[in-house]
Symmetry: C2
Subunit: 240 residues, 2 copies
């Protein structure tokens, strides 16, 4: 049984190395993600390496071994099932559940995890659209597009939000940009670094490209997209 601290490091390394092109995470990033100094992260790296959970060499970056990866997916499963429970059953807000799950995930036994999973109907995605690893560690694979890369005039469906910060999530909720919602990319303003979206409610929402990078979408199923040459009105509103 890994300690709580070990679980947190594994989770951080998993997500950081998934993002990185080399598949390796840097110590400074790991330390920041876990919330410790880099020195602490280095000594933990040695411990994890001795336990064969990570591949680590001095000054060389850190990455998970298969064993470490399995452990990380197990934690992620607990985290995301707990988040789903908090939103679906207890009706907490999606902007609050990340921090709550962060604490609870370490106290969930396999028995309780199974019972939660059953109670929720074996959900495959959590409230932020993150895929929930299966009991054996399998992840649903999807091909998603960053909203920041969606072309003007495209109809897309919000599928996943990478940014877990409450502020971001509250903004998205307020403007109606929640998981499953279909939106139209009205305009992009590379100069201003913003993107304008039309929500189902008819509102025009502007957000920065940077913010749009953490919103993942899929092309809308019944897309009746007009030819890309269609000019689009240029209007802006609140930006994130």
């Amino acid at each position: 049984m890994p300690t709580e601290a070990v679980e947190n490091y594994l989770k951080a390394i998993y997500t950081l190395s998934a993002e990185s092109p080399t598949g390796e995470a840097g110590m400074t990033r790991v330390a920041a993600a876990v919330g410790v100094t880099t020195g602490t992260a280095t000594s933990m790296a040695k411990k994890l390496s001795a336990a064969k959970l990570v591949k680590y060499e001095r000054f060389g970056g850190i990455s998970l071994t298969p064993k470490g990866s399995r452990a990380a997916l197990d934690i992620l499963r607990r985290h995301r099932i707990v988040e789903t429970f908090l939103v679906q059953t207890l009706k907490l807000d999606w902007s609050q559940v990340h921090d709550e799950a962060e604490r609870l995930e370490h106290a969930i036994s396999p028995r309780v995890l199974d019972a939660l999973d059953r109670h929720l109907g074996h959900p495959r995605f959590d409230p932020h659209g993150d895929p929930i690893p299966g009991a054996a560690g399998e992840l649903a694979e999807r091909t998603l597009l960053a909203l920041s890369d969606a072309g003007e005039g495209t109809r897309v469906r919000v599928a996943q939000v990478l940014d877990q910060r409450g502020e971001t999530l509250r903004f998205l909720e307020r403007t109606g940009l929640t998981i499953g919602v279909e939106i139209l990319v009205e305009a992009r303003e590379p100069g201003a670094g913003t993107i304008s979206l039309r929500t189902p409610a008819g509102d025009l929402v502007a957000m920065s490209e940077h913010a749009a990078r953490s919103v993942l979408v899929q092309p809308a199923p019944a897309a009746k997209a007009r030819p890309a040459s269609t000019p689009t009105p240029r209007r802006r509103r609140a930006s994130s």
Copy 2:
């Protein structure tokens, strides 16, 4: 915010001193309840005393201050609400939930606790019949009788089970002696140290007086009982 270890000590001291006539708990008992050596318990006693959570003097026993008592009731509330949730919502067996709640109780934030409480409909008793302290620490007071003290021929209703061990709970479940069930005390055999009970299913169940001491009952509501010649001692529980 007390640490997890501190919470466990407070809970142990609360239950032990509630049982003791002097209202004080001995170090050896506390250590056994928490699962540490007596030396460890002694040094923790000093720490708790410094934090004004307990009253403690060398060789003098230990008891909770009002502040410590409030903290203990808060933990008990979390524990019992979690147990109720595990049985009611997740359908776990009442013989399993104690240990699970033991881990989860430390990870429940006030927000999640409130949400759970609301989801469960503000229960006043947990699956073992233990009263759930209110948000302000109030405890429902009931006058219960140990089954071992119930007179022959009495009709009683099972109200609370003090023994949290899985073995005990599975026995009670198997024989139909669960919370709320009305039974008839058929015979007592002081010589053999046993007591015989008639369950609603019509079965005759025998149990030792010792086992019957941890089953608390109330006189059955529609009881045409004879004048209560039976005493009604107040009893408290062994472990939460």
